[in-house]
Symmetry: C2
Subunit: 374 residues, 2 copies
C-alpha cells in the first residue's frame, strides 16, 4: 500500500504515497481526529475546503455510540459521515486505558465499563478487527495495551507481551476473514514505554508479523518530550523503508516538524480542535490565546502567513469578541484555522522534502515558531 | 429605498426591492439573527453559500460587547463581521425590556443594568441613533417602548406615547447628524399591544413622521397567535404601499407564510438557530425533533424536499448521532439547514408572488406543513 517516492538529502525525512480503497494519500500527512464520526466543531465540508486527505476516527467511541447496528445499516463509517476519502480507525486500546474508570486485562482481551453509561463490554483482538470491518476504515489498528506514564519495567514488559500476542491474533483474524466491503489495511503498534530494551523487543516482534504499516504507540501519555523522542532514536533504525510509519497521538506543530526529520510519515492529534475550543490558535510564530485583551483592537489575521478562510475573512478582534461572547462560531473558526494550520504545515513539509531542503525548512520553522526543539 | 414591483392577484402579498448602500434586497425576505455579530453557531461564510440577502444584529448586545470603541476602530459592523451585504440593527428597546432585570423608563430615555455584568447604562433616542451610526447598519430602528403581554391599557397607552415621542426625536437627530460612512435608513415602530384603538393611534402617529419603512413591534411577546394576527388586520390597511413593512420577531414558518399574504415584506426571528441548537429541524412537513430514537436508523435527509448542503450530504441518523453525542457539528448542521429553510422559503414565496399564485402556494404550504393557520 506504500510507495516511497524520495528521501531527503540530509535528514531522514521522506516522501511517499499510500494507496487505499478511498484514494491515495501523499505522505508525510496529518489526520484530523474525528472521534465520534466528526472532527469536533467542524464539518466534513470544512475538511474538503482545505483538502484534508484523510480523517481518523475512534473505534471505542463509535462502538459505544451510535453502535454497530447503525454502522452496519449505514454501510460503514464513510457513508455514515458523508466522507468518501480515506479513514483510519484506532483500535480503542488507548481509549480503554485512558477514558474508562474500570478495566481488567485478561489474556484474551480487555473488559471495561463504558465512560458514557457504565455498561460492561469485552474487547478481544478479533472483535476489534470485526468492529473495524463493519466501520470499513481504510486503515485499522489492532488492539494493544498502552502502558501509562510512569510505569514499572514489569508493567511495560507485560504490555509489550500482550500487544505482540494480540497483534498476531489480529493479523490471523484479519487475514482469515477477508475483505468485507473494500480492501482494508492492518498496522502494527510498537509499545515498550520509556524502556529502550522493551521498545527494541516490541519493534522486533511487531515487525516480524509483517503488517501494512507500523505505529509507535504509548507515546504522548505524559512523559517528558525528550523521552518521547528517545523512542524514535531507538526504534526508527529498525523500521523497513517500504512501510509507512505512524507516530500515534503526536503532537504540537514543532514536534511534528522534528519527527518528520526522523522519518515519520503519519500523525494524528486532537490538539488543533481541542486548543481551538479553548480559544488558542496556532500561528507560524507560535501559539496565541485569542481571548487575551491584547487582541481586542487587533484587526490583523490570526496568522499573517496563513491563507485559510478564517485568516482571509476575519480579524483577531472579531474572533476574540466571539470567544468572549461564548459564540460557538468563535470556536468553529479557531478550530478551522488550527486544523488548516496542521494540514497546510504538512503540505509545506512535503514540498520541502520534494525540494531537498528539509533541514533548512525545519530550522526556519522551529526558529520562527519559537520552539525549544532542534 | 423601496420599490414595489408587483402585487399578488388574489392576496395582499407583494414583491418589492429595497436599495441600500450594501446592495439591493428582494422582498419579501427573512433576516437571520446575528445578535452579537454572528448568527449563532453559523459562519458568515455559511450565509453566503445559500445567498442570504441580509442579516440582523442587536444594538443592545454590540453596545455592551465588544463596545463602541472597538466598533468604531473596526470601521463599523460590516468589516468587523466580514459581511458586506446589508445589515439591519434593532434599537435595543426590545432587549432592554426582555433581558435586563433592572430598567427605569424616564421621559428622555431608559436606564438599565447590563445582563452581562450589571453595569448601568442610559439609552436615549439620540444615543441609540448614534450607536447605530457607529455600527453603520443599513437600516436602523429607533428606541421604542415594548409593552409586555399581558399589560393594562394604561401601560400600553404609555408605551405608545413614549414610542411616538422617541421616534420623532430619533428622526430629528438622524436627519441632523447626516450620514457617517454611508447612507443609512431609519424605520418607525408601531406599538399598542393588543388594543385596537392604540395600534391605530400608534400607526397614525408613526406614519405621520414619515420614516423609510414601518415595523410592527410588541408582537410575539407571549400573546396568542390570533392576537398577533389581529394586529395585522387593524394596522395593514393604514400602511402606505410605497414603504417596506416589517413584522418584528416573527415567526414560525407557517406564520411567515400567512403574514406575507397580509402584505408583510420583512421578517426576523432567532427561531431557526435556537431550535437548531436544541436539535429541532424544520421540514416542509413540519418540525422534527432530531434526537428522537425514531431517527436512529433513518438514512434519509432532514427534509426530502430540501436541497441544502446538509440535506444533500447527511442523514437523519448521522445528525441524530451527532446531537446524542453532544457534538457541536450537530447543532451547526441543523442550524444551517433551518436558516436555509427560512431563506429558501422566502425564495419560494417570492417566486409564487411573481407568478401570481400566492393563494395556492400558501394553501399548499400550510396543508403540507400541518399548520393550524389558514
Amino acid at each position: 500500500m506504500f510507495k516511497l517516492i524520495k528521501k531527503d538529502k540530509t535528514t531522514n525525512a521522506r516522501r511517499g504515497v499510500l494507496t487505499t480503497a478511498h484514494g491515495t494519500i501523499q505522505s508525510p500527512f496529518f489526520m484530523p481526529v474525528g472521534t465520534s464520526g466528526t472532527v469536533k466543531s467542524l464539518l466534513v465540508e470544512n475538511l474538503l475546503t482545505f483538502d484534508s486527505q484523510i480523517v481518523l476516527s475512534n473505534t471505542y467511541h463509535l462502538f459505544l455510540r451510535p453502535g454497530l447496528e447503525i454502522m452496519e445499516d449505514a454501510g460503514g463509517l464513510h457513508p455514515f459521515m458523508g466522507w468518501d476519502r480515506p479513514i483510519l480507525t484506532d483500535s480503542g486500546g488507548y481509549q480503554v486505558f485512558s477514558l474508562t474508570k474500570f478495566r481488567k486485562i485478561k489474556d484474551d482481551g480487555v473488559e471495561f465499563k463504558s465512560h458514557i453509561d457504565g455498561s460492561t463490554h469485552f474487547f478481544t483482538p478479533e472483535k476489534v478487527v470485526d468492529i473495524q470491518r463493519v466501520l470499513g476504515s481504510d486503515i485499522m489498528m489492532p488492539l494493544d495495551v498502552c502502558a501509562p506514564y510512569p510505569c514499572t519495567h514489569k508493567e511495560a514488559l507485560k504490555s509489550v507481551e500482550q500487544t505482540t500476542l494480540w497483534a498476531k491474533r489480529s493479523k490471523e483474524h484479519f487475514i482469515g476473514k477477508g475483505h468485507k466491503r473494500h480492501k482494508q489495511h492492518l498496522f502494527g503498534i510498537i509499545q515498550g514505554a520509556i524502556f529502550e530494551e522493551l521498545r527494541l523487543r516490541s519493534a522486533e516482534e511487531i515487525l516480524n508479523i509483517d503488517m501494512d504499516g507500523y505505529a509507535i504507540g504509548g507515546v504522548s501519555v505524559g512523559e517528558p518530550v525528550e523521552e518521547m523522542f528517545k523512542t524514535l532514536d531507538w526504534v526508527m533504525p529498525l523500521m523497513p523503508a517500504n512501510k509507512p510509519r505512524y507516530f500515534m497521538g503526536i503532537g504540537l506543530p514543532d514536534q511534528i516538524v522534528k519527527a518528520v526529520g526522523e522519518g515519520i510519515d503519519m500523525f494524528d492529534t486532537c490538539i488543533p480542535t481541542r486548543y481551538g475550543r479553548h480559544g488558542a490558535a496556532f500561528t507560524s510564530e507560535g501559539k496565541i490565546i485569542v481571548r487575551n485583551q491584547t487582541f481586542a483592537h487587533d484587526f490583523g489575521p490570526l496568522d499573517k502567513n496563513c491563507d485559510c478562510m478564517v485568516c482571509r475573512n476575519h480579524t483577531r478582534a472579531y474572533l476574540r469578541h466571539l470567544v468572549a461572547a461564548n459564540e460557538i462560531s468563535g470556536l468553529t473558526l479557531i478550530s478551522y484555522h488550527n486544523v488548516y494550520f496542521y494540514v497546510n504545515l504538512m503540505r509545506q513539509i512535503r514540498q520541502a522534502i520534494d525540494e531537498d531542503r528539509y533541514e533548512e525548512f525545519k530550522k526556519d520553522f522551529l526558529k520562527r515558531y519559537g520552539s525549544e526543539l532542534s
